[in-house]
Symmetry: C2
């Protein structure tokens, strides 16, 4: 289904209120096939749930995992000027060139696993405003970034890994998460690229300062995104939204990607039912965020790089789940005796 | 290095006392390259450790993951006659035929991920003795199975996933683990293929009975394997041993495979340093076993099928780790600014 046209937050509110649900016919077909496969019931654990989830959200049975994509959005943040990252803001553009040249971690993973990769930089020469002083974006800027993200999702993608790159964006993720769910800045703020000691205290203070400035003005989750987020986070939210309409199951990467997607869930509970969280980030706020979302990550490997790296690894779990569900023999076809026979 | 010839438990004792160590030159090369790669230090988490581990145990830098193999050993257990499984013992042979026909879960995973697959049945028509009445195997039988397992490991394998199939073998794994580490039978006994309620109590009693019969006779870990194990478990121990000599890093599957390998670690601490545990089995004794071994599994997906399924999924994590380590650009080559620059 083509996603609706979005030109304002009001349009977004209408879009999330009209999200398509799962395909229960495909889900029932998966539920019917699963117990016939040559293994004890439940023995593939989460892989069994994932196969059914893929069927429901792709809207077909058996689910396919032939066309896997990863999309990374990059942007710059005004708040980077506050010294919240261990790296200079120029690294965002340098890493985008590294993505294009095939030298980043995500390039290696996509190549190793046959996942199509694309990266888009969103106005790197125009960072968002420093959100300790003003809203990061105007509504128009935020909607533009959301619409850009919506535009990258194409029909026929079997699963989509979403990630980000942006110096300063774990600060934005922390502020956004705190803006959505409350709590203390220290609950949501972590080392990011490697900020520790006094600098981590300063980063935490920046998050607290930002949320204090905007708190009374956050009338909706989209308003939180505009004030405390960033362009790459808005683009991720847009891609997640469009994927729902286009029946593309999504795997979210780490803390920043999950915080971006959380905007949709805060606006409309269930809006992330077509999403898995690829891995548990080493960034400590991620666990708290996942508790709010009720999501269990697929992997826990101590990663905190972003770039969709954890999500692309997690795509392999989906691939395995779908391969088992679609390809396994049944007890009847293989002549294997059933339970207690 | 060709593994030593084994004709007795005494030979095995000498072999585990003479295990080759890691290649520290390769390990140092990995440690030197890692901080140059275009990501914050530590941001790939466990993948960074895995790349260095692969280098050390393959004995080369960069490590390769082009040749991945999975090997499953199948055997029958006399104790199956005690009703410890939800399935009849005939399922072992039926599943071996399913492996050969390509219909099992492990076949789908190996096909999806380009992992070479082989399964070997060990004298299915001659189950081990019911170990609640007698030792499961004679020393000759146990050594034969170990030597068989040793024989399947070939030079040039970049990583080897090891798994098993055998109706009754979670009972053997529980008895073996209890024989090695003590504790109560209930600590080690789980649902296996799906045994619950009264039947799980009976299975637990069978494990307790077996260990009580043999406990005073268990003079060595190999003696525990012979008395309480099974042919497929002995073969796994043999394959793990041979892999160490041939510089083949190993990924162990779930509870039964880990219990088999634990025999070597109990005989010689460090004997499993070239092994990762692929996943945390839903079988509750696995977590306890891993605590004894000091191993953290790579995945936790609620799986409990065996057949090397969890190990083959985990091979993809190794593949990703090696791909990032070998293929990523350096800060210098990509022109990316370093930390605090």
């Amino acid at each position: 289904m083509t996603p609706p046209t979005i030109t304002s937050f009001a349009d977004l509110g209408r879009a999330v209120a009209a999200l398509p649900g799962p395909d229960e016919v495909a889900g029932e077909a998966a539920a019917k096939r699963e117990p016939q496969l040559t293994k004890p019931a439940g023995a593939l654990g989460r892989l069994e749930e994932l196969a059914a989830w893929l069927a429901r959200w792709q809207g077909r049975h058996p689910p396919a995992v032939g066309v896997l994509k990863a999309h990374v959005f990059a942007a710059n943040h005004g708040v980077a000027a506050r010294g919240v990252s261990a790296y200079p803001a120029s690294v965002t553009a340098e890493m985008v060139r590294n993505f294009e040249a095939g030298g980043a971690a995500i390039n290696q993973l996509c190549r190793a696993f046959g996942v199509a990769f694309a990266a888009d930089a969103l106005k790197l020469d125009r960072p968002t405003q420093d959100f300790t002083k003003a809203p990061a974006m105007s509504e128009v800027e935020c909607v533009d970034a959301i619409v850009f993200g919506m535009g990258v999702v194409t029909d026929g993608t079997d699963a989509l890994a979403l990630g980000e790159m942006g110096i300063g964006n774990t600060t934005a993720a922390a502020a956004l998460a705190m803006g959505l769910y409350g709590g203390a800045a220290a609950d949501w703020t972590g080392a990011g690229t490697g900020v520790v000691g006094e600098r981590l205290k300063q980063k935490t203070a920046v998050v607290a300062e930002a949320v204090a400035l905007h708190r009374t003005e956050i009338a909706s989750p989209f308003e939180a995104l505009r004030r405390l987020g960033g362009r790459e986070l808005a683009a991720i939210a847009g891609a997640v939204l469009a994927a729902r309409f286009r029946r593309v199951p999504v795997v979210l990467d780490g803390y920043a990607a999950t915080a971006a997607a959380a905007v949709l869930e805060a606006a409309q509970p269930g809006a992330l039912d077509h999403c898995q969280v690829g891995h548990l980030s080493a960034e400590p706020g991620h666990r708290r965020l996942l508790e709010h979302l009720g999501k269990t990550p697929l992997l826990d490997l101590g990663m905190r790089l972003g770039e969709a790296t954890g999500a692309v690894l997690a795509l392999q779990v989906l691939k395995g789940a779908a391969a088992c569900h679609a390809g396994m023999a049944t007890f009847q076809s293989a002549g294997v005796s059933g339970k207690d026979s």
